[in-house]
């Protein structure tokens, strides 16, 4: 299929390019910023230290929203303790993906440091696989009703984990065939799915500010239905701008 897959680096121009770079900078900043919280979460949970994300949320919203009934902190202590090993692997590996993933899309880095790009790509694919397998192991051992927000969210997480693994596999097989365009397509899709983690937390904050009667669990289930498509839009539009030149091939 590679022969019919013409690489058309449809470079955007002017304001469009500036807008894309600005949005990418915001995206990368959010990913790296949240990766610190993700890395800290279960290490602090395991060592009974203050969890940075919870305190950050409490500072922005309220102690009640961050630690009260319906919060992750209050509702998930027991299931998290039971599945701590899987969750440690899941979040620390996920944090690695968030920290290095956005920079894999920098054409400057890819062109100047191709060896770094390949090495970081291998780390990303290994991390994302370990993270999702650990997530699935946690979901397997935890009754669906005990997952945060209950069975609907648990099934949503199953779906997310499988989609991440599938798209990572498609991205890997594409680059093994030197099919750069398809590789970029599936990596954009994959990282957009990973981005659902920080985006979910941003939505929790937005719900906390705009709908004060909601607790975290209610906000979580309210966001759940459209979270992934919301994140995927960004990655899919990025791919379209990179590989959708003005003139169609004939």
């Amino acid at each position: 299929m590679a022969s019919v897959f013409e690489v058309r680096q449809g470079r955007s121009v002017g304001g469009e390019r500036v807008a894309v770079r600005l949005l990418w900078a915001v995206f990368a900043g959010l990913c790296v910023f949240y990766s610190v919280f993700a890395f800290n979460y279960f290490i602090s949970f395991a060592t009974e230290q203050p969890i940075w994300w919870n305190h950050f949320m409490a500072a922005l919203l309220s102690e009640q929203y961050a630690f009260g009934p319906g919060s992750v902190h209050a509702d998930q202590a027991a299931p998290y303790s039971a599945g701590l090993l899987f969750l440690l692997v899941h979040t620390t590996m996920g944090a690695v993906c968030l920290a290095i993933g956005p920079f894999q899309f920098s054409s400057r880095i890819r062109q100047r440091y191709p060896a770094y790009h390949r090495a970081a790509g291998k780390v990303y694919l290994t991390s994302v696989t370990l993270s999702m397998v650990a997530g699935l192991a946690y979901l397997s051992q935890t009754p669906a009703a005990d997952v945060f927000s209950g069975a609907p969210f648990a099934i949503g997480l199953w779906g997310l984990d499988f989609m991440v693994l599938l798209t990572a596999y498609l991205a890997y097989t594409a680059i093994r065939k030197r099919d750069v365009v398809r590789h970029q397509a599936w990596m954009a899709f994959n990282l957009s799915l990973i981005f659902a983690t920080p985006m979910l937390r941003i939505f929790w904050l937005v719900f906390g500010w705009t709908l004060p009667s909601f607790n975290q669990a209610e906000a979580n289930i309210g966001v759940m239905t459209y979270l992934l498509p919301f994140c995927l839009l960004g990655g899919m539009i990025w791919f379209s701008l990179q590989h959708g030149g003005r003139k169609a091939a004939s």
């Binding site: 299929m1 019919v4 897959f5 013409e6 690489v7 058309r8 449809g10 669906a144 209950g150 069975a151 609907p152 099934i155 949503g156 779906g159 997310l160 989609m163 599938l166 798209t167 498609l170 365009v181 398809r182 397509a185 599936w186 899709f189 289930i221 309210g222 966001v223 759940m224 239905t225 459209y226 992934l228 498509p229 919301f230 995927l232 839009l233 899919m236 539009i237 379209s240 701008l241 590989h243 959708g244 030149g245 003005r246 003139k247 169609a248 091939a249 004939s250």
Partner: protein, 222 residues
């Protein structure tokens, strides 16, 4: 027939026929759920609407039937014109469907949210479905907007891709309706919980399928 039409004709025809079949079933389901079940008491998914919810929905319909009829018409028009619009885009042609589909999609996205709020939190799925319809309206409008922008700026591959993504969103009911009783049965969930689960999986799943079609099957060539 041009060389391009000859090259891409067979897979395009297959996609068109499959899309049209999906569209016809989806249109039937939507018209039944949003109009016919109130007018002729024929509910294809009666098991999904327990008595209390059916009463809530009937009251909402009788209060503002025009919104329901308009939404059903727009959604049916979108799913029925989508395959022709996609086929025309792949073949580099423009026909009536190239205008009807985006217009019907925009109308269905907005009217779907209007109808959801008319049904209110007393309908199946409760408040969660209001968030879903709001999110769907946003995502669908962006998808149609990107396809229109790409058409106007001459990016034909992008226009084709986003027409396909928009069509995937138009066809959401065809996977949501069968999934609801499945999850209710498989996980012993309430209809509301099963509905939230189904729309979550379908919404993301349709994007995955439409992206697969554009990236793996069609590629970047027109």
């Amino acid at each position: 027939m041009t060389d391009r039409q000859a090259t891409v004709g067979a897979p395009t025809d297959l996609l068109y026929k499959a899309g049209l079949a999906v569209g016809m079933v989806t249109a039937l389901a939507v018209v039944n759920q949003y109009v016919l079940r109130f007018l002729i008491d024929s509910n294809l998914f009666a098991a999904l609407t327990p008595a209390g919810i059916a009463e809530n929905d009937a009251m909402a319909f009788s209060a503002a039937p025009h919104w329901f009829v308009l939404y059903a018409a727009a959604a049916a028009l979108a799913v029925l014109s989508g395959p022709a619009a996609v086929r025309a885009s792949i073949l580099g042609q423009r026909g009536p469907a190239s205008v009807i589909f985006p217009a019907a999609s925009v109308a269905a996205a907005v009217l779907g949210a209007v109808v959801a709020f008319a049904l209110g939190p007393g309908s199946v799925g409760g408040t969660d479905l209001l968030f879903y319809w709001s999110g769907l309206a946003y995502v669908w409008l962006v998808a149609v907007g990107v396809s229109v922008w790409a058409t106007l700026t001459g990016r034909r591959v992008v226009a084709r891709d986003w027409l396909i993504h928009s069509y995937g969103l138009a066809c959401l009911p065809i996977t949501i309706y069968p999934m609801i009783p499945f999850w209710a049965w498989a996980m012993d969930m309430s209809i509301g919980g099963a509905t939230s689960t189904s729309v979550t999986l379908a919404f993301a799943g349709h994007f995955l399928v439409s992206f697969y079609v554009t990236v793996q099957i069609l590629g970047r060539r027109l």
